[in-house]
Amino acid sequence: MMSVPMEHGMTLVALLWAVGLIGLLARRNTLFMLMSMEIMLNAAALAFILAGSHWQQADGQVIYIVIITVAAAEVGIGLALLIRLRQHIQDLNIDNLDRLKG
């Protein structure tokens, strides 16, 4: 079987995670922000699989399953919120959500 150093795998995780974070910070459309969040969650999932395979434990995959459950629930509520938001304002731009201020 293959043998990739763990460091390389984790670097991939970090890269993916960073891409997600950049997306979240830079994009203004909430839908894209939601997708960026998915990328970050996925990166974390990859990290657990990596670690699990390194230690030869199935636990990593169990946590992976937990993570997709979390992601599914989060996406469910998130999309519902976006649908609701779309009815109130004409686009999903987060800058239009600026009526809250101090």
């Binding site: 293959m2 043998s3 390389h8 910070l25 203004r28 990328i39 990593g60 992976y64 519902a80 919120l81």
Partner: protein, 172 residues
């Protein structure tokens, strides 16, 4: 050796696809890239000896969750105005700040990973669905139960938020 290159290749695909997701103007296109990224990650999982996770990634993530996104997109009814407005935002100026910040973080963690190696590269062993299942429905049984409650919360929350307000007189 082939397996290693395959891992790097699919990792690179996942990364590139993710970058495409966050830089895309069109939501549908972005979604497609997201699916590609997820599938590439599934490949990685497989190569890491986790075929079960890989299958789940394709079925649940790339399948079910993405379908949710597509449905929502249809409901949003995104038009060319939205895309135009968003493209205004996609100037390079908007990216510099966040990207720099995150790159610093990224640099730190990459530095740690590359120059403080703590793990030796060992050949990957297969962890099959059976062992995952045994664990999942053995010591982790409670986690499964709670995950079901988590999904219930997602369901109730999503249902409540997305449905129309009830008419007052119907409510009795």
């Amino acid at each position: 050796m082939i397996a290693e290159s395959l891992f790097y290749l699919s990792g690179a695909i996942a990364l590139i696809a993710s970058i495409m997701v966050i830089t895309n103007k069109n939501a549908v296109h972005a979604l497609l890239y997201l699916v590609v990224s997820l599938l590439a990650l599934a490949m990685c999982f497989y190569l890491l000896g986790a075929p079960f996770a890989a299958a789940l990634q394709i079925i649940v993530y790339a399948g079910a969750i993405m379908v949710l996104f597509v449905f929502a997109l249809m409901l949003f009814n995104i038009n060319s105005d939205d895309i135009k407005r968003e493209s205004k935002w996609l100037q390079w100026q908007g990216w510099v700040g966040p990207a720099l910040l995150v790159l610093v973080l990224l640099f730190e963690i990459t530095y740690l990973l590359q120059f403080h190696p703590v793990w030796s590269a060992e050949p990957v062993q297969l962890i099959d669905a059976r062992s995952v299942g045994t664990l999942l429905f053995g010591p982790y049984l409670l986690a499964v139960e709670i995950a079901s409650f988590l999904l219930l919360a997602g369901l109730v929350g999503g249902y409540h938020l997305a449905k129309k307000m009830p008419d007052k007189d119907k409510q009795t």
